[in-house]
């Protein structure tokens, strides 16, 4: 190792879902020259799926992740709808799936905000680590910590009622769903949903107030002008379950719009880099240098024209007013955007619970069999792509998954580098400084456990390089 170069490793990154590692390279002046978010897990799931019958896939893929199995379940089911030719689901099937999905969004966003992110927001980045955690929240703001688990439970119970199990359910099947929601199953949720709405409003207020109050600091904290990608409904509304792909640039100009996601590969490409298991997606027309983009709550707030539920739409208008209608590129605004979506999801849950189609019995439809199909869904952390080919024997011959955290790979690395450059230098590394790096990663709510699946990539390698790019050390993980 060079005598003038130091490497700082933060491992593991705490309060993100999964395992990650950040490497920061300092130059001879003690300044950050580069920072990278590494992924230390390896899944190889796309290869596991090959050879399995297509109807198993919506259940199998949930093993990708114990955090957002519902998103994988539904994205795979949507893809398999295409395989069985079910282009339009029955109203009961679509609404049951939507209820399941909004419950997943609801519980995931609530848990992230109250238990993972709120310690940073409530106590500040420099607070004692012994306090800056969910235990600290439970002690100082017990009502918030309790709300977090109560909201999580509410969402999980809806997932259980619609999919059969809280984790790794079987409700969505190719062409529809295998169960409806009875009145008896529905009523407890109707009894609780107004309380959930009230807690959503409170959480939104916290996130909004925090962002506005600290705007000066946050605007320059890991923020980067970026492209944004998400599904939007045909009329431009936010739609977390289904729609067409839209991409906008940093100033809001449309890069592509109304794109049928069955042809996503004509618009999105993936780059492989030797130092990470995760791929680096980019908008093909722009190339890898400028075509990277963000997904997730911030991107969805930026790409949609409106939100179709009244309270969330009012919140969206406040959110957009902050940037005078232009896209919001403040990374820490992810939290505010996430809470707007939390409220939207809860409004949709209430709307769906009152819909008698949930008790319908016409649950499955089929059509002309196809050999290839893509399923897309807006998962809590961002757009989730499932792409499959199935042979005449009903076996999967190809699977390609692009998960939310993978889309955000480049912007997360840029955010880490930006924060590291601003806050870490010299020889004194404090917990507060290190935590700022983690804070900016947490804003994206990455789920690192399901983002690594590119079987055939190099094993994890840590390279130590001089500022001019000369390799001076290399370590392989085992």
């Amino acid at each position: 190792m060079s005598a003038t170069t130091r490497k700082i490793t933060i491992e593991p990154v705490t309060r993100v879902e999964g395992h990650g590692k950040v490497t920061i390279l300092l130059d001879e002046h003690g300044q950050v020259s580069q920072a990278r978010l590494h992924i230390v897990e390896f899944r190889g799931f796309e290869r596991f799926i090959q050879g399995r019958p297509y109807w198993e896939v919506p259940v199998l893929v949930q093993r990708l992740c114990g955090i957002c199995p519902v998103s994988h379940h539904l994205a795979a089911a949507k893809a398999m709808d295409g395989i069985v030719g079910a282009d339009t689901l029955t109203p009961t099937a679509e609404k049951i799936r939507r209820l399941m999905h909004y419950a997943q969004i609801f519980q995931s966003h609530a848990l992230h905000f109250f238990h993972l992110a709120s310690p940073d927001l409530l106590f500040g980045f420099d607070a004692d680590p012994a306090v800056r955690n969910v235990r600290g929240v439970a002690k100082k703001h017990p009502e918030l910590a309790v709300q977090g688990v109560m909201m999580r439970k509410f969402g999980q119970e809806i997932i259980k009622a619609t999919s059969g199990k809280k984790i790794h359910g079987t409700g969505a099947i190719p062409g529809g769903v295998n169960k409806s929601l009875s009145i008896e199953e529905r009523d407890p949720f109707l009894n609780d949903v107004d309380q959930m709405l009230a807690w959503c409003r409170s959480a939104l207020q916290i996130a909004k107030d925090y962002t506005v109050k600290h705007l000066g600091e946050l605007a320059d904290f890991g923020s980067v002008d970026s492209n944004h990608v998400s599904l939007v409904r045909g009329d431009g509304a936010m739609d977390l379950y289904h729609g067409n792909l839209r991409a906008i640039g940093p100033d809001g100009q449309k890069i592509f719009d109304h794109v049928n996601y069955q042809k996503y590969f004509d618009y999105i490409s993936e780059e492989v880099k030797p130092w990470s298991y995760m791929k680096f997606p980019f908008i093909s027309a722009l190339g890898p240098e400028t075509g990277w983009y963000r997904v997730g709550p911030l991107a969805r707030l930026n790409t949609c024209d409106f939100i179709g539920t009244p309270e969330a739409e009012a919140a969206r208008q406040e959110f957009k007013a902050l940037t005078r209608g232009k896209p919001n590129n403040i990374t820490m605004a992810y939290h505010w955007a996430r809470m707007i979506e939390l409220l939207h999801a809860c409004e949709k849950i209430k709307e769906l619970l009152n819909d008698p189609d949930l008790q319908g019995t016409d649950r499955v439809t089929t059509g002309e069999r196809r050999g290839e199909s893509v399923g897309l869904i807006e998962a809590p952390r961002g757009t989730l792509f499932h792409h499959y080919r199935v042979d005449k024997n009903d076996q999967v011959t190809m699977a390609n998954l692009i998960v939310s955290t993978t889309h955000n790979n480049t912007p997360m690395n840029l955010a880490v580098t930006d924060v590291a450059k601003k806050f870490i230098s010299g020889t004194t590394i404090t917990e507060g400084l290190l935590n700022r790096v983690e804070v900016v990663i947490r804003a994206y709510d990455p789920c690192l456990s399901c983002a690594t699946h590119a079987l055939g990539q190099m094993p994890l390698v840590v390279e130590l390089m001089t500022p001019c790019g000369q390799l001076i050390d290399r370590k392989f993980s085992t």
């Binding site: 705490t14 879902e17 999964g18 235990r135 309790v146 109560m150 439970k153």
Partner: protein, 174 residues
């Protein structure tokens, strides 16, 4: 919200990955207990313990966590769990240890139920499948036989009356 002592309610939570052979011992135990329909005893199965389980167990008197053991004693081990004063919650919100869950429950709701951890020894984990190995099934049978009377008596005699057989050990753990 908590029930009176005379209304003792026991929840058995069997957790583990049922698609990884003997790792499914915990859910298998919960399923067996559920079929017995014991008074005041309910059973649930999960892949992992998660934070919202705190809401559920906060209302209970007793919880029995059932898990598979990779290298514990045969045929099973039964531990009385202490609520940790402080400790790590674990790395992720979707995978907590029983002790961490108890600690979180007390921090959020002011108290936690009395809890026991049953670890049933498994032998085959490194493959996919939903069948238990022959030795794991035998250990499961032994665990069900031993725990059923304890569950029926609301665990009142658990600590005072350790198992007759030497191998199913009873200890305290936090």
């Amino acid at each position: 919200m908590r029930k009176k002592k005379k209304d003792i309610t026991i929840l058995v939570i069997g957790y583990g990955n049922v698609a990884r052979l003997d790792d499914g011992l915990g859910p298998a135990f919960a399923a067996r207990i559920q079929t017995l329909k014991l008074t005041d005893v309910t059973a649930d199965s999960k892949s992992q313990l998660t934070v919202e389980d705190a809401v559920t167990i906060a209302q209970l008197d007793y919880v029995l966590f059932a898990d598979a053991s990779v290298n514990g004693p045969e045929p099973f081990e039964l531990k009385a769990l202490k609520v940790p004063h402080r400790g790590r919650l674990g790395f992720s919100t979707h995978n907590l240890s029983p002790a961490a869950l108890l600690g979180l429950t007390r921090e959020l709701f002011g108290s936690a139920p009395k809890a026991y951890l049953l670890q049933i020894r498994g032998h085959v984990f490194n493959d996919f499948g939903d069948k238990l190995s022959k030795r794991a099934r035998a250990n499961l049978d032994a665990a069900v036989e031993h725990l059923t009377p304890l569950l029926q008596t609301g665990f009142r005699h658990c600590l005072d009356h350790p198992p007759k057989n030497a191998s199913p050990s009873l200890s305290e753990s936090s």
